[in-house]
Subunit: 198 residues, 2 copies
Amino acid sequence: MGNRYHHGDLRAALLDAAAAMIAESGVEQVTIRGLAQRVGVSHTAPYRHFANKNALLAAVAEDGFDRLVVRLREIREAHPAEPELCLRQLFVVYVEFALGNPTHYRLMYGEEVFNRKEYPELSVIAHQVFNEFFAVVQQGQQAHLYRANLGVKITCSIWALAHGLSLLVLDGMLPVADDFENAVGSLLILASDGFREK
Amino acid sequence: MGNRYHHGDLRAALLDAAAAMIAESGVEQVTIRGLAQRVGVSHTAPYRHFANKNALLAAVAEDGFDRLVVRLREIREAHPAEPELCLRQLFVVYVEFALGNPTHYRLMYGEEVFNRKEYPELSVIAHQVFNEFFAVVQQGQQAHLYRANLGVKITCSIWALAHGLSLLVLDGMLPVADDFENAVGSLLILASDGFREK
DNA sequence: GGTGTGATGTTTACGTTGTCAACATTATGA
DNA sequence: TCATAATGTTGACAACGTAAACATCACACC
């Protein structure tokens, strides 16, 4: 390796450094110049890989969505024939991801940070989150666990509940129970009683 | 009025200007110097009223919470004896407030913008939002509409659902139905079937 | 194997921003 | 009336995002 003029994979290094810096001190502390210094390049080198700071942050957010979707898919494929249990697991894992990566999670959904509309790939990958939940809801419908014709609304409710719960807890506005997984899971059960076939 | 050295109520003027600027072009476009210019004072005058930019933004967020809580209380007091209808109205009005003041709403809950922990008054006023929902849930419990011993969890679910739904719609991740109020309300009904006494 | 061309990184520079320190003006109450 | 606190201004500074001009390198092509 040694000190060479070309870094090798500066783009990936910048994304890693940004993710680390976000985890350490929050998005607002991330600076192009700081990242460059951390990676050991000049303060304008990042502009060879990202049009501007927003584009870099959008790429970091996209990485976060990628990791989340992979995680959800693992859960889903681990429970091929148990939609109810699977849904509960998805829900818990989703909230755990948010609470385990607080600043990163916030960046993924934030608007102050960058103009989402300029980065349509973010909406695409975010929609895959919806689809992970939706697939299991549909399984549940086929098993006559959940009411037919309401698959989209049920999925919206679950996602919104997971999202809102995560953020309210992150904001310190809801107390975190000792038995976290049970508390989170029971919230879903409570709400999802209304999803069932009669 | 005229041009005088002392502004009169610079603090309020700055908050107004900040709210307006946020509504127009988003939080990230708000700048101390821009606000000062807009209000017609020098670029450091704001520091006589706010310790720094974060403190100013926190005050703007607090104003937003104040308005939201007032709005919710109006609804609650307009339905003294109909907890079920009242809850639905609260829910819809909450989401409407968020969608009607997108950037302001995001600021109220954002973390990137400023360090919430430094502004405990924000948590206090935010807890009043919880209490508005909670009061009605308790009414419903007294009327044997909702399950006893689950008041807090039910309230958390409702708030989280409203919050998550608002943000997902703001992010363009959920479609906005034509008949918005009905769609939002039905989401609550769907979920809250599980809240009922059997 | 040389070579030149595009990709990648550096240097320098500029305007904007948040914020501090020193100073100016005004309001207020003893 | 006048000292003093409250409020506003001027000027300065460092950090930041980013553009332009330049330097170095990798690699495809003769």
